[in-house]
């Protein structure tokens, strides 16, 4: 994609060239394409590939590889974690806690559970998007079974304090699920030392392929999920289906690369984010969604007064950015996440999410800044004054 400036890494990232090369080898008919459930030589070799990839992912998270279950992506991981754990523990209680600013895969799963008769408390964030911990403490009840709070928000980049949230959950004997789709491979996650019971991952947000994700399930009493799918006995019956070995191997390599260059990636992204924000913060009427602290620097979400969002988005072409969450962008409703931060419809609609990463260059950012400034200027000139 040489003719566009791709700044939509939060929707999906390019595949790292080293990962792409591994995929190429594994998709080759002379490569190992066997089913890792098969007992023959080729099957056992495939199983060994899966095993070492799993070890890499476990290393990235500092967790027991036996706690990892492969899925098709974070959507499935979120569903399996939330619906699976809620149903598994339903006999103990039916109260659950989450936030309206979670990803749709979390929000909609909780809504489905509400229809099943679960009782969900929706904790609204502060105006910067963060959870006020005391509100969580007040909300947890004796029958609370599960709390689900994401790590890095996909629209604003805000980072929740999962260590503190998890400590409270553990104290009150509720399971804690973290959607880490946006943070895994980018921020350190040390599961041996974090009070997290369930954690969702997806490879395509960390330079791996689309179509593969994982759910980490801690080995603790009471921490189990009911499966959503039934079939062959793969993955201890928690998630059946032929294991997609090339995708898993690629996920494993992506994890190992992420671990090796996490600090470097983060420095790179922070420098780009800084440059971008410095470039557009001076534009009249610009406002940051979320705050400058506690933020993953690879996502910058800005609204602007009195510029129409959809036109701004088109004016930015060929710079590729998102308005709301990518998963949501067909529908031009104002983002529910930004509304929850207290933005009015107009401001929410003018929001542009820039997101970038390992392959983004300083020139890409310069182009984006230029396009943003020019687009705003042109659209403002095009618009009649506001009615008095």
């Amino acid at each position: 994609m040489k003719d566009v400036v791709y700044l939509d890494y939060a929707a999906t990232t390019p595949v790292d060239p080293r990962v792409a090369e591994l995929l190429r080898t594994l998709n080759d008919p002379d490569g190992n394409f066997a089913n890792p459930s098969a007992v023959h030589i080729a099957g056992r070799r495939a199983a060994a590939i899966v095993e070492s990839a799993t070890a890499e992912i476990a290393r990235m998270l500092n967790c027991d590889p036996r706690g990892l279950v492969y899925t098709s992506g974070a959507t499935e991981s979120d569903n399996l974690a939330i619906a699976g754990a809620a149903r598994f523990r339903a006999h103990r209680g039916r109260h659950l806690i989450t936030m309206p600013t979670e990803h749709k895969a979390v929000v909609d799963t909780f809504k489905a559970l509400e229809r099943e008769g679960f009782d969900v408390t929706w904790l609204t964030p502060e105006s910067n998007g963060l959870l006020d911990i005391t509100r969580l403490e007040d909300a947890i009840r004796d029958d609370t079974q599960l709390v689900s709070i994401m790590h890095v928000n996909n629209e604003t980049g805000m980072i929740q304090d999962i260590a503190r949230i998890g400590a409270i959950c553990r104290d009150r004997d509720a399971l804690f699920h973290v959607d880490a789709a946006q943070s895994a491979g980018k921020l350190p996650i040390d599961l041996a030392n974090l009070p997290v019971d369930l954690l969702s991952l997806t490879a395509h947000k960390m330079y791996g392929p689309k179509g593969i994700g994982a759910l980490y399930i801690a080995d603790r009493p009471g921490c189990h999920v009911e499966p959503l799918l039934f079939g062959g006995g793969q993955q201890r019956r928690i998630r059946p289906g032929t294991l997609p070995v090339p995708l898993i191997a690629a996920f494993g390599l992506a994890a190992s690369l992420a671990r090796a260059q996490m600090a470097e990636d983060e420095r790179h992204v922070a420098a780009l984010g800084d440059r971008l924000w410095r470039g557009i913060r001076g534009v009249d009427g610009v406002t940051l969604n979320g705050d400058e602290q506690h933020r993953w620097p690879g996502i910058l979400n800005v609204s602007i007064h009195d510029v129409e969002g959809e036109s701004l988005m088109l004016a930015l072409e060929p710079v590729c950015v998102a308005t709301g969450s990518a998963c949501n962008s067909q529908n031009q409703e104002p983002s529910y996440v930004l509304r929850a931060l207290g933005r009015d419809d107009l401001l929410a609609q003018s929001a542009i999410r820039f997101s970038f990463g390992r392959m983004t260059t300083v020139e890409d950012i310069a182009t984006a800044v230029e396009a943003y400034r020019a687009g705003v200027k042109r659209l403002r000139r095009l618009a009649p004054e506001r009615a008095a």
Binding site: D306, E308, E310, S311, L314, S329, Q330, L346, R381, L382, A383, P384, R386, A387
Partner: protein
């Protein structure tokens, strides 16, 4: 999945509107509704529209439609404005139906413009 929401025509009209701006020495009308703002202005002489201009605060489809309207009526008889219907423009530009509401604001503006031009020449 996102089929392209913008036809080639919409992109072209949005990116290079030849009639953007207000004609300060012409007749101007304005409609604010449906969360959008549409301003049209025209210079008329001998029943003909010699120049048109627009300003819009709204989505790309609305901007493109306003540009298309200006281009279409330039050189035409002013009284045609009052019979204007957006349906044809929506079809030509392939504007999605859910945008009908906003485009109707443009329709209202075009007709107001027609009335305003007629009012002015009646005066004269």
């Amino acid at each position: 999945m996102s089929a392209d929401p913008y036809s080639d025509e919409v992109r072209e009209l949005f990116n290079e509107p030849r009639h953007a701006g207000r004609l300060d020495d012409g007749i101007s009308v304005r409609e604010d509704a449906q969360g959008v703002r549409v301003e049209l202005s025209a210079i008329a002489g001998g029943g003909l529209l010699t120049a048109l201009g627009f300003r819009v605060w709204g989505c790309p489809h609305l901007i493109a439609a306003a540009e298309a309207v200006c281009a279409r009526f330039e050189g035409r008889e002013a009284r045609e404005l009052e019979g204007f219907r957006t349906a044809q423009i929506m079809e030509i530009l392939a504007i999605p139906v859910e945008k009908t509401g906003r485009i109707l604001v443009l329709e209202d503006a075009v007709r107001s413009l027609g009335q305003a031009v007629r009012g002015r020449s009646d005066e004269a």
